[in-house]
């Protein structure tokens, strides 16, 4: 069953900037799809269209069988931004509880849920801290916990680890993979990093700029159980080289 489908999707910004042109894509439930490409290729824009943060100027998008706006109103997805975007006046717990409060969940159920997602991202014990008292990696984990809080089927992640150092990033990648395997969510993941895309995804969408479009869709044959060492395997390196070649071709 397709969770996200796009047909002939186009988006032109004022000033005749073609952010997306003729994008066709279908993403099945339980997939982990990475979007990779140089800046201006429309990968973030695509995610924002799915989330109904941008309106397409042509074509059609369905999210869980609904229009993006309907999906947003039903709170069908969780979104993780490039920056943590935690409200500085709320504690970590308060931030994770925010979407639940907005959806009118009662306090006790919400608190249980908050505790369990904080545990999932290994932030138990930090619930009473304020975001600005945490490191960048912990803040981003809190923001992932917030996106998981209301248990939506679909997780949209826009370069969530872009601003973090490589060591923290590896660790968070590992955790994210565990999380995806245990929750069976569908993940759309925007990244700049080839190793990150290959390590995490079941499918890699390579995009190219001017106009933003899909250059190639690469299926990832790696087994779903991936220890960090998989990144030294020849299989991993060959997928990575496919992605690199697709990126290079897309530049022409």
């Amino acid at each position: 069953m397709s969770v996200v489908t796009a047909e002939g999707l186009s988006l032109t910004f004022p000033g005749d900037v073609q952010a997306l042109k003729g994008v066709n894509l279908s993403i099945d439930a339980g997939e982990f799809v990475s979007f990779i490409g140089p800046s201006g290729c429309g990968k973030t824009t695509f995610l924002r269209v799915v989330a109904d943060l941008e309106k397409p100027t042509g074509g059609e998008v369905r999210v869980t069988g609904l229009s993006p706006e309907e999906a947003r109103m039903k709170r069908a997805y969780g979104y993780v931004f490039q920056q943590p975007g935690l409200l500085p006046w709320r504690t970590v717990e308060g931030n994770v509880r925010l979407p639940l409060a907005l959806m009118g969940q009662d306090r006790r159920t919400a608190d249980q849920r908050v505790a369990s997602v904080l545990k999932m991202v290994e932030l138990d014990g930090f619930g009473n801290k304020y975001p600005w008292q945490l490191s960048g990696g912990m803040q981003q984990r809190a923001s992932i916990a917030r996106a998981l809080a209301f248990d939506a089927e679909l997780l949209l992640m826009d370069e969530p680890f872009g601003a973090l150092d490589e060591i923290v990033r590896d660790r968070l990648n590992d955790q994210l993979l565990d999380l995806w395997r245990s929750t069976q969510k569908t993940v759309l993941f925007v990244t700049h990093s080839i190793p990150e895309a290959v390590y995490l995804s079941t499918k890699i969408v390579v995009m190219s700029p001017r106009p933003g479009r899909i250059a190639k869709v690469i299926d990832n044959p790696l087994p779903s159980d991936r220890p960090l060492e998989v990144r030294e395997s020849t299989e991993f390196l060959s997928v990575a080289s496919d992605v690199r070649n697709a990126l290079r071709e897309g530049m022409h």
């Binding site: 989330a51 109904d52 943060l53 709170r75 969780g78 979104y79 931004f81 975007g85 006046w89 959806m103």
Partner: protein, 279 residues
């Protein structure tokens, strides 16, 4: 002569003490001890200088005489305080700042209104609005109502500018986040815009505090019943009872500083998360 010399010695001694305290004491203690010693030094030096140089009472009374007057005339001072500060300044302050907040709410719904109000508000905030005082006295009479009215008009625009800016002080990610949650406009106001605006709101309240005091006292120069701090200052200067004038100044200073301090405490507890407040 001895007194003048001792004034200088005292000044040098206490300043040296402050230098030592500033180095030795912990940040927290130094922040209180050093300014307090500085203030005391100033008062003592003035007292000694006035005594030593035989400065006439009609120019500058001794600080000790001012304090004595503060206690002997406290009933009159209290009445003046109630008339000018509690009735005039405080009422006007609450009404003016409250109205500005309401208008800022309206402006936060409409981009057009915000674009119109912000430059205009900024401009009016730079005008000497205090000049409206005689007109307010003409419209609202000699009582405290005219004082409250001038305070309203002085506080409104500076507060408005701060509130409008504050309610717009959310970043794109925060707004997108609330959109992905399909949050209602009321939820967005209560949970995002209002908390984000608090540093600006408090800044506005701080800016308006001295304005309110100035407005209420100035308006009394254009007409007042025979009570009030501005009235008392005006008449006491005329009758050369300068110790009373200074007693009124001390009352005004305590009221202004006390209120400002209260705002600082509120600011500290409400906007502890703001980068300027973090410790």
């Amino acid at each position: 002569m001895m007194l003048v010399v001792s004034a200088f010695v005292l000044w040098a001694g206490l300043w040296a003490l402050n230098i030592i305290l500033a180095r030795r004491l912990s940040e927290q203690h130094a922040r209180i001890a050093v300014p307090v010693i500085f203030g005391l030094t100033l008062v003592l030096v003035v007292e000694l200088m006035v005594r030593g140089l035989n400065v006439s009472f009609v120019i500058l009374p001794k600080p000790s005489e001012m304090v004595v007057r503060l206690f002997t005339s406290y009933e009159m001072l209290w009445e003046d305080f109630a008339q000018t500060i509690l009735k005039g300044a405080l009422t006007g302050y609450i009404v003016g700042c409250g109205a500005a907040l309401m208008v800022a709410f309206l402006a936060s719904w409409s981009d057009f209104l915000r674009r119109g109000l912000l430059p205009l508000g900024n401009f009016v905030a730079a005008l000497p609005v205090v000049g409206l005082a005689p007109i307010m006295v003409m419209w609202f009479g000699f009582g405290w109502e005219s004082k409250a009215a001038i305070v309203v008009s002085m506080c409104f625009f500076p507060m408005l500018v701060n509130c409008v800016q504050g309610l717009a002080a959310t970043n794109a990610i925060e707004r997108d986040l609330f959109k992905t949650y399909a949050a209602s406009p009321v939820q967005q106001l209560g949970l995002l815009r209002l908390p984000a605006a608090m540093p600006f709101v408090l800044n506005g309240l701080k800016v308006c505090t001295p304005l309110a005091l100035i407005g209420a006292i100035v308006a009394e120069f254009f007409g007042s019943p025979s009570v009030g701090m501005g009235f008392r200052i005006k008449t006491s200067v005329g009758s050369l009872s300068l110790d009373l004038v200074w007693a009124e100044i001390i009352v005004a200073a305590i009221a202004g500083t006390g209120f400002f301090g209260l705002l600082l405490i509120i600011e500290r507890s409400l906007t502890f998360w703001h980068p300027s407040q973090r410790r």
